[in-house]
Symmetry: C2
Amino acid sequence: MKKLQPHPPISHPLLEASPELWAGVASTLRKKSYEEEDRIVSHGDMAVNLWLVLSGWVKLTRQTPDGKETIVELCTEGDVFGEAALFPESHYPYTANVVSGGTELLAIPATMIRSLVATQHTLAVRVMTLLNEHISQAQLKLEHRATMSAAQRLGCFLLRLCQVQQAEDKKTLQMPIEKHILAAYLGMKPETFSRAQQQLKPLGIAVSGQTITVNSIAKLRMFVCNSCSQSGSCDVEVAG
Amino acid sequence: MKKLQPHPPISHPLLEASPELWAGVASTLRKKSYEEEDRIVSHGDMAVNLWLVLSGWVKLTRQTPDGKETIVELCTEGDVFGEAALFPESHYPYTANVVSGGTELLAIPATMIRSLVATQHTLAVRVMTLLNEHISQAQLKLEHRATMSAAQRLGCFLLRLCQVQQAEDKKTLQMPIEKHILAAYLGMKPETFSRAQQQLKPLGIAVSGQTITVNSIAKLRMFVCNSCSQSGSCDVEVAG
């Protein structure tokens, strides 16, 4: 892990919400580069930073006393984790590990973000919006477990990937993370994941190694989004 | 549905966080009583109130375009819903229906809560804490779907009920909602729910109609909480 000095302006939705505010503190922010499998924070650590993902992928996991691991979230460009840092004496409720090369994060010290939120109402509202979005995302994932087939859940992730990788209607995507990690995140056993891949073939989705070809995003969207309550108001429907 | 005038002080954790602040606006707050099956708000309605549950149970649901319904949350005493009201021009992301008799809610107008949050930093932090708790709850439910058996998930709900109904170690509980609603909330088919009930019998859990006898909360906790990453830091472990 290398520490780099920031080269402002660093681009991230949270910073762009109040650029003039961040301009004043940019020099104290630390942008960090990570290698795959680097551990960023551990479950139970004191939350000393709020983390912004600038590029790459980060896996948030938790372990139960009887040894089961679950992936709480996969974060990528534009995502934020470590919200516990907003509250004094709080601990990270998960372990964060890097799961793709070329991952860059920005660490905002807990004391800094708390004092900014205390004095800048615009930022407080932005943070509340962010927390509310996280609630929506978690609730939506719960919904998808109940309403969607495994193939639809995989399709939904591919639509998110189309958006992150700024796909046009027909697109070749690169799978950014190991398939077994994605399968676990989507709540599937490896054999269910393989079957889901097969079931997407008739829709023009071809998977070869880490390369995925999506023949028609519109067709994929039709297959996936009809089983989602956010249909019509979701970011993945804007891409392509 | 009857509208009642408030009889301050109304007891709720959000209000107790800043009692002097609420004292000034208490007279404008509306406490409302509902009957079972009353609809409080509809998915997509403009979010004009933040809702505090004073007593009873409320079901938050969403529907997909292809007609599947999921229960996003079951709210009871002390819970808050309608956080969309914190943000201008926002819409409720679910429908809220009353699912038990004797349900009382407090409606805080969106304009009032937004202006209070804008001027009172203590309240802003309390609201952020609340949002963060909602994230944790949703993430924990996702985890439980992956790590817990149906019997453990039912056991976890019974522990929550022990807490709400302030059970001592041995306790007779009243099931406050229809079993099919609880089964849907826990992501189970009715037959899985019945099997889960049977599997809890050897632990001293007897279900007869709407009455549930829990012989030993400690024993139930041992069965459930070993498969949960929050083990040791969860509210249900404090009860009893």
